[in-house]
Symmetry: C2
Subunit: 175 residues, 2 copies
Amino acid sequence: MSIYEMTVPCFAQMLRALQGFLKKGEAHARELGCDSKNLLQSRLAPDMHNLASQVQFTCTQAQEAVLRLGQQPLSALDAPDDMEQANALIERTLQLLSSADRARIEEGAQRQLSIELPNGMAFDMTGSEYARNWVTPQFYFHLVTAYSILRNNGVQLGKADYVPHMFAYLRQPAA
Amino acid sequence: MSIYEMTVPCFAQMLRALQGFLKKGEAHARELGCDSKNLLQSRLAPDMHNLASQVQFTCTQAQEAVLRLGQQPLSALDAPDDMEQANALIERTLQLLSSADRARIEEGAQRQLSIELPNGMAFDMTGSEYARNWVTPQFYFHLVTAYSILRNNGVQLGKADYVPHMFAYLRQPAA
């Protein structure tokens, strides 16, 4: 198992699932006759981030996986204002993932990197430790929270929306 | 990066985080003067599983990672009735993870395995595909949903509760 394989294609397939969640969210808002921006502003608790920020942070984690492991400078992302911007942000992130240099990312596994938080805390670890212990849990945290915010608002999502890539492994009935 | 490393120790550290979530949930219920079973019965949407089931399914995914990759028979888990049972289920799961045979799990990466869902659908894939595309997203799905249910009920959780293992990488101030 390579560090590339456990990050880049996994994040790409889950970001495509996130596009599906938002598409269903948009359709749900249309049925209710309300603006889908209301969904982007929804949150599960007053002191949690809203859906727009969850999309921003999911994309941030995916982009940072490529940039940190590839020793490239990070660039800050903005929270999307509407569903169109949310989709555009996910598309840009998918493009970054698909253009990621696999060899460079594999090389990143043993190199040291640092995460410096806005509050002044810093964490030093290898690329491999980063992939397993930071970026994977953080990516899924924001992705699943996005899913939960939509479900909490009545959007009909299920496991087929969460892991649509699994249909590639569906057993075909015997002829 | 080995398949063992990307599953067993990662799931173990996140299950310890889940124990922390529940401990804070229990303290919160005590402060409110209510039974912590009320939290275990909470859900984010009427057609989503409750917290007790999210704990059950998080543990199921962790246990199945060891058993499926190690070609051992699966055993079904029950949803916990109270916080004591929830903790005991997580402890049993941590024990299974800590006694997992690393070599056997590594061997599982290239072997074929099947996931058969109660609805009759079946998916065939290698152990490596299972680790990346099924068990990791499913494990985090239920873990993060458990976190969100507790947050939605006013339990004060933050990133330090979600990734407490990161403190092992905290940069020490220069002497």
